[in-house]
């Protein structure tokens, strides 16, 4: 291709179309990550089912392999990122989607591990506890309930599209809003429903209202120009 070849308008348009067409199908996913996660989650789920159905134990929590799978996944992501010669907008968005998904799974695991103890603590603060009585023997023992906190889970859901959009669009207010939402989610795991509701309100403001006002301002400025 020559640097200063004089182009007619028609040739210019053809060249633009040709170059865009050349890069149109650049996205090539190796599938390694999907195979890794499919294997880890498949083994963990089927083993858990088998243990319950045939009443045996392998002696450790099989779901730990899903956490272990994070290590090769990080290595694969870094290696694939280094070998990429071109990053399409589609790939950039897919990266954001999977990053947010990974972060949310991590948060959800954290939630599932702490929620039972937190509920128990709240009951103790109210001078109450749940007891489980075996009907045949009449024996009673302490029972730590696991009451799901719907408003905490809402915060987790709020964070996902906001952070994905923020990363995909490189829009800082939404990145900050999304990260803040994860912070509110962690805090809400240890607070009562009243404060969870307060954080839902604050999340609405930092997640969408402030970024929305910034977008509106930019839109109106652009319209005036």
């Amino acid at each position: 291709m020559e640097e200063d070849k004089k182009l007619t308008e028609q040739e210019s348009l053809e060249l633009i179309t040709e170059m865009i067409h050349k890069v149109k199908n650049t996205y090539h996913e190796s599938g390694t990550g999907a195979i890794l996660w499919g294997t880890a989650v498949g083994i963990a789920g089927l083993t858990s089912f088998a243990q319950r159905h045939w009443n045996f134990s392998i002696g450790f929590d099989i779901w730990l392999i899903v956490l272990v799978a994070f290590i090769p996944q990080i290595y694969i992501s870094i290696r694939e990122g280094k070998n990429r010669k071109v990053v399409s907008y589609q790939e950039a968005y897919m990266d954001a989607v999977w990053l947010v998904f990974g972060l949310s799974i991590f948060m959800l695991t954290f939630y599932l591990n702490v929620i039972s103890g937190v509920t128990d603590n709240f009951m103790k603060q109210d001078d109450s506890e749940l007891l489980l009585r075996t009907l045949t023997t009449g024996e009673t023992r302490h029972y730590a309930p696991s009451v799901p906190s719907g408003y905490s889970l809402l915060l987790l859901l709020f964070a996902m599209p906001t952070l994905t959009t923020g990363i995909g669009q490189k829009f800082k207010p939404m990145i900050i809003g999304g990260i803040l939402c994860y912070v509110y989610f962690i805090i809400s795991c240890f607070t009562s429903t009243k404060y969870d509701l307060l954080m839902n309100g604050i999340a609405g403001i930092t997640n969408w209202l402030i970024p929305g006002l910034i977008l509106r301002d930019r839109y109106l400025k652009g319209k005036r120009c």
Binding site: E3, E9, M19, V23, K24, V86, S88
Partner: protein, 97 residues
């Protein structure tokens, strides 16, 4: 009244680079060279001109002990490309009527 076509963009190789970069987030120098069939020297000069015009951002780093140059469009570059395409359309529409 026709808008004058941007002289920075109205050149075969520079327009090819800009058209390629408009379709992706970022691309390595070697990838651009492969798709444009340009020589490294020629492409390097044109990339520099686009950079000086503020149309593209060039990042140089090392990957496995080899230099790696990555190019991406700047917001100013996107605006210039859009204006160029709009001007082209005007010329072509005028030619048809």
């Amino acid at each position: 009244m026709f808008k004058e076509l941007d002289p920075i963009l109205h050149s075969q190789l520079r327009l090819a680079v800009m058209s390629l970069l408009i379709a992706v987030k970022e691309a390595e120098f070697t990838y651009i060279r492969e798709k444009t069939n340009a020589t490294a020297g020629n492409l390097s000069v044109q990339v520099q001109k686009l950079k000086e015009a503020g149309y593209i951002e060039v990042t140089k780093q090392f990957k496995d002990n080899y230099p790696q140059t990555t190019c991406k469009l700047t917001p100013h570059g996107i605006e210039a490309f859009e204006a160029y395409v709009k001007a082209l359309q005007q010329y072509l529409q005028a030619g048809q009527s």
